[in-house]
Amino acid sequence: MTPTIAMGTTEWTLPDRGRVGVVCLIATEFALFTIFVVAYVFYIGKSLTGPTPSQVLELPVWPTVCLLSSSITVGLAARALENGRMPGFKVWTGLTILLGLEFLRQTALEWRHLIADCHLTITTNLFGTTFYSLVGLHASHVILGLTLLSLTLGLGLRGSMHGQARRFELLAWYWHFVDAVWVAVFTVVYVVGR
């Protein structure tokens, strides 16, 4: 007893489930970051001791350029994969990974400078608490994205990425999201909060 009522050949297309899933994942991550950003903004200027942001933070121009460019390269990789140009896909994905790694290297250098030279750790004051949490949360997302990108690159080198353009596009969306979050972090931490 299956209810089938002839409707002729009606068009019936629904959104791709993977896209819906990734949009939801991004929404929930967005909410998570929002809370950390709110905490950061709430505690601006409330530290009881130094150092303060204006004393120790420098505008991270080069890492920002790297991360934002990686959004372009991952888009080019997605397009190459969609058109079946595998060499292009491998090159652009590899470049995206290199740019992401450079961003992480710069973050590590910044943290080493802050910890070793400025004596700012997560326990020093509220600035340290919120700074390392927010930037660290973002960096952990960069690491996650890089892990996934490296996996796809590995699969691409093995020749297993044919016909996976739809899935790679979802990963590219996630990477764009990680970059967009950096824009917010950059604005709040290095522009407004300084």
């Binding site: 007893m1 209810p3 019936w12 959104p15 939801c24 909410a31 809370i35 905490a39 409330k46 608490t129």
Partner: protein
């Protein structure tokens, strides 16, 4: 039979996972119910000696945490898992493996909470369960005041089960958006599916504030950060804001699935389509939106500014409008209907009555000056138990009686069902009606005992006796389930003469749900099938 067990452990079938969710949450319900019974036993008489205070603190913490995170949320995750694909004519959820992942995260999160009874360290040594209350206010939860690891068990178990809830919510959204059968437009979707969609969207955006706050708390506790550390300039109040930014939407996350069940059961047992379908959907969406703007009504007593008070009083009272529309529409559905009072319907009728009272005390508490008087009293306890027991638990039981035949192929006994219902109604009102008065007479919540002569003795004794009736009612349900699984009457495909697609499948449905993918033309596809002379789609 290990192979059978193995099948359940590795399953990705939405129906099996749904049953596993529901069975697990009923198990946790029984455990947390026993904790509640212990607390009522302690409070039955003044100067109770049954439990020491530190044990009492653990009981109410674990009871609250369990009921919210390990009973309420997973029960309805289970119902959504089982029913959403069937109702929209799909063969499974959008992401079956993610579905299994969600269940196992929830289960191990729950077990982690109870493992603390064995493993966690606290002031009293090993075996100290969390004792900071289910909303775990800072700075009590900071290292300085919560030594040992019991609070960490609370944090980690909720983060884990929260990941499971998020995974399952994302899955429901993707299923509803992308897996509907031909002709199942959003406008034709059963109300149950609509409400589950709204609930899932709320889980996706409202759970992260809790997760974020708990990560911050872990950073405070283990890396020496200062988010909620008042001595370093941190704000204990920020925890309250973050917690209730999650905590109030959570109330609707728990309650809307109850509405969803009532919206399916009441029309079928009134023999009428739901009254004001579009208004029901609109009201649900507006509850979802309003829910994120009311959190500070849990915090009137901290001394907010006057303008914040006015904002949160108004927004909280506004929630009464869509909720009122819903109650009006359920009554409108029943009005002039050919009512059948089978057990599922009985539970829904009691729900309407009790939820109305819960809503009224909610509007009372929403007025800030009234809240200042009664906050942290047993009035609050009575209010939210009226919502969560009188409202939610009753629809939950109604849903069990309604859909058990579909999931197992056997009917539950109506006689035992009526015993269950009446014992629960009597017990519920004995316990929670009286506790309102204890609260008005000044009895604070979370006290482990009280002195005689304050006028609370009779009320507390009555409340504790009510627990016996409630427990007897739940025992009837358990016996009913065990008995019916073996020798209940055969259900057939459609025992209630209902209209949604799940009743078009055999009971229990085969793994693939539908042999031929269905195609629908109205919001009551089975009505169309049974009444070809007068189908709904003619009027759409």
């Amino acid at each position: 039979m290990p192979s059978k067990l193995h099948e359940w452990i590795v399953t990705v079938d939405h129906k099996r996972l749904g049953i596993m969710y529901i069975a697990t949450s009923l198990f946790f319900f029984a455990v947390a119910g026993i904790l509640a019974a212990l607390m009522r036993a302690q409070l039955a008489f003044p100067n109770g000696k049954l439990l020491p205070p530190q044990v009492f603190n653990r009981l109410f913490t674990v009871h609250g945490t369990t009921m919210v995170f390990l009973v309420g949320m997973p029960f309805f995750a289970g119902l959504a898992n089982y029913l959403v694909p069937l109702m929209i004519g799909a063969r499974d959820m959008a992401f079956p493996r993610l579905n299994a992942f969600g269940y196992w995260m929830f289960l191990f999160g729950g077990l982690l909470l109870y493992f603390s009874y064995v493993a966690a360290e606290g002031l009293a040594g090993h075996g100290t369960a969390p004792d900071v209350g289910w909303f775990a206010y800072a700075p009590l939860t900071e290292r300085a005041f919560s030594r040992g690891t019991s609070t960490d068990y609370w944090i980690l178990s909720i983060i884990l089960s929260g990941i499971g809830s998020t995974a399952s919510a994302i899955n429901v959204i993707a299923t509803v958006i992308s897996m509907r059968c031909k002709g199942m437009t959003l406008a034709r979707m059963p109300l149950f599916v609509w409400l589950m969609l709204v609930v899932s969207a709320m889980v996706v955006v409202a759970l992260p504030p809790l997760t974020a706050a708990q990560i911050m708390l872990l950073l405070d506790r283990y890396l020496g950060a200062h988010f909620f550390d008042t001595q370093a300039g941190g704000s204990a109040l920020l925890w309250q804001h973050f917690f209730w930014l999650f905590g109030h939407p959570e109330v609707y996350i728990l309650m809307l699935p109850g509405f969803a069940c009532a919206s399916e059961i009441i029309p079928v047992f009134s023999r009428k389509p739901i009254f004001g379908r579009a208004a029901m959907i609109g009201a649900t969406v507006s509850i979802g939106i309003l829910a994120v703007g009311v959190w500070a009504h849990h915090m009137f007593a901290v001394g907010l500014s006057s303008s914040s008070n006015i904002f949160f009083v108004t927004s909280t009272m506004l929630v009464g409008v869509p909720t009122g529309i819903k109650i009006f529409n359920w009554l409108g559905t029943m009005y002039g209907g050919k009512l059948r009072f089978d057990t599922p319907m009985l539970f829904c009728v009691a729900f309407l009555f009790q939820f109305l009272i819960a809503g009224l005390t909610g509007v009372m508490m929403a007025a800030a000056p009234f809240d200042w008087q009664l906050t942290d009293s047993y009035f609050v306890v009575a209010h939210f138990h009226y919502v969560l027991l009188g409202g939610l638990l009753f629809t939950l039981f109604g849903a069990i009686y309604y859909w058990f035949p579909k999931a197992t192929g056997r009917m539950l006994s109506e006689t035992l069902g009526k015993w269950h219902f009446w014992l629960l109604v009597i017990g519920f009102h004995m316990t929670f009606d009286t506790l309102h008065f204890a609260g008005i007479l000044g009895m604070p919540r979370r006290i482990y005992t009280y002195a005689a002569g304050r006028g609370w003795e009779n009320l507390n004794l009555l409340a504790s006796i009510g627990v016996i009736f409630q427990a007897a009612g739940v025992a009837c349900l358990i016996w009913n389930i065990i008995r019916s699984l073996r020798k209940g009457a055969l259900a057939g495909n459609d025992p209630w003469d209902a209209w949604t697609l799940e009743w078009a499948t055999p009971s229990p449905p085969p793994e693939y749900n539908f042999a031929i993918e269905p195609e629908v033309r109205s919001s009551r596809p089975l009505w169309d099938l049974k009444h070809p002379e007068d189908p709904d789609w003619k009027y759409e």
